[in-house]
């Protein structure tokens, strides 16, 4: 895999060049360079200029080299380039630039056509299951990312409701499952950032019209489809994919930190008690929102293998508190694990865990260990 070398080659501590100083010549959103967003919901640590240049170079090729883009994106995508890069990494946009505008147009129209077909219909025409799904989405949308006020603007709420409902109807094997609302939020913030300048805290819904919103919604919809594609069995009956993932996290922790795993076991703490949510919501719930977006860079760079990476990431995440964990007893363990103190985590802290996960994978993934020889 192309990204195997990333961690050792590019130490994440070399953030010394301001990201937004240089010329960022993309095709599209110069304006979206949120230069003021050094703190806040869409905040980002400065990305070295040479990395930004590499991104721009890749994106300007006639056919974008996706492997190279993945490798580069693994360690973080510059704020202003995220919308475009994410669409590419999701496979939503084709790598051939000449076909991109047309594809985007077509996909957005396809989505727009689904709205009257599935959503704008009288309640009586919905099946019993559909009514139940609708009800669930309506209950969850207002409870989505409570700490991101912009998501609670009526136009955004409506949009979330539509896209989650339609997603559920179009994916009957699982349907809408609680927590999927969390998975949309990074896409939503990033695709909105193309239309709303400056830091997220200053965004105003007044400047969004229906057609812009519908395009953003369509992008979110298709990218959510791609993201969940490889983890459908996380959300089907009895959630076998999650149960398997949680089991593997537990096994991995046992192999690399027996002390932690012994302690949890002796306190009768079961991994499912905390790691279910981690896997179900891909750790979004455990991190401040700006870091969830950064996490998405890595997931999308991982591509279809991201759910495998999530195992290593979850183990690394857990072990980042290992000293603390081994001192706590059952009750305090559970309370601690369900509300981990990550509120003031910085990007650097998340990146440390990502690197740890990367190393864990290199050391413990039997299938991949031979690659390290190369």
């Amino acid at each position: 895999m192309a990204m195997e070398r990333r961690v050792s080659e590019d130490p994440s501590t070399s953030y010394d060049v301001p990201a937004n100083g240089g010329p960022i010549g993309t095709q599209q959103q110069q304006a979206a360079v949120a230069s003021g967003a050094s703190q806040g919901l869409l905040q980002q640590a400065a990305i070295p200029e040479h990395r930004v240049r590499k991104f721009n170079k890749l994106l300007q090729e006639a056919v974008v080299d996706l492997d190279a883009l993945r490798e580069l994106s693994w360690s973080g995508v510059p704020l202003s380039l995220r919308p475009q890069v994410w669409r590419l990494l999701c496979g939503y946009l084709p790598p051939a630039r000449s076909r991109q505008a047309q594809t985007l147009d077509r996909r957005r129209r396809e989505y727009a056509d689904m709205v009257p077909e599935y959503y704008d219909i009288p309640h009586e025409e919905r099946s019993e299951d559909e009514v139940a799904a609708y009800r669930q989405v309506v209950v969850d949308v207002p409870r989505t990312a409570p700490n991101v006020p912009f998501f609670h603007e009526p136009i955004i709420q409506e949009s979330l409701q539509r896209l989650l409902y339609i997603w559920g109807i179009r994916h009957p094997a699982s349907g809408y499952v609680q927590g999927m609302n969390d998975l949309v939020t990074p896409f939503l913030a990033v695709f909105l950032s193309e239309h709303l300048p400056g830091p997220m805290e200053g965004w105003s819904a007044d400047t969004l019209n229906e057609s812009i919103m519908l395009a953003v919604e369509a992008d979110c919809y298709w990218c959510l489809c791609k993201l969940v594609e490889g983890i459908q069995d996380h959300y089907t009956y009895a959630q076998p994919g999650i149960q398997r993932a949680v089991f593997r996290i537990k096994e991995l922790v046992r192999r690399c930190e027996a002390e932690v795993s012994d302690h949890l076991e002796s306190e009768a703490v079961d991994f499912i008690q905390f790691a279910l949510r981690w896997v179900n919501c891909l750790l979004v719930r455990e991190l401040p929102f700006c870091l969830a977006i950064r996490l998405w860079d890595t997931y999308l760079a991982e591509g279809t293998g991201f759910s495998e990476f999530l195992i290593y990431l979850s183990a690394a995440f857990l072990l980042s508190w290992k000293e603390r964990l081994t001192r706590l007893e059952f009750q305090d363990l559970i309370l601690f694990l369900q509300r981990l103190p990550t509120a003031d985590w910085t990007e650097a802290q998340l990146e440390r865990v990502l690197s740890e996960a990367f190393i864990l994978r290199s050391s413990y993934s039997d299938a991949q260990s031979h690659l390290r020889l190369g």
Partner: protein, 216 residues
Amino acid sequence: MSHKPDDDYDYLFKVVLIGDSGVGKSNLLSRFTRNEFSLESKSTIGVEFATRSIQVDGKTIKAQIWDTAGQERYRAITSAYYRGAVGALLVYDITKSVTFENVERWLKELRDHADSNIVIMLVGNKSDLKHLRDVQTEVAQGFCEREGLSFIETSALESTNVEKAFQQILTEIYHIVSKKVLDSEDNRPKIGEGRDLIVIDKQHDEGAKKKGGCCS
């Protein structure tokens, strides 16, 4: 043996919160354990846990409460938590009759997965939304009489009856348990330190089990 003050309890009872999504289970729990309410709480994924101790008849009862996800999809996983629970608060939303209609299904869940003598209390939450009421108190009351459940209406928002609901179910459990203990007085292991410790949830309190007896 020394105990931390908040660990100083006579009885430990495991209680589960169940019911449809959005009825207010998590807010009932946060109101009871932390006196907090949030209009925009997040949905529960899987289970969440909290504890609080209260006094009943001069005894300290520690409630270990497991709040479960309401969506059906999580039921396969959450029903495992019913095991060992001595009480269940089955919550519906008085403004949404469908959540009351589903109570039957939840009772079946309990029959299938919980101990047969679990104490169940039906809780009609959101009583503050009077103008939106969709389930009449008498209807729910009648249902509970037929089914042999206790019943209360609460508002997690206004903090009405929340304390009372928990107090009532824990008291009920206590009376059953203490009676059981008296009945089997002679077989009971002798307990030191004058502590009358009953651990219902054996699995989760190894330490306490060693200190005291176990009733179930």
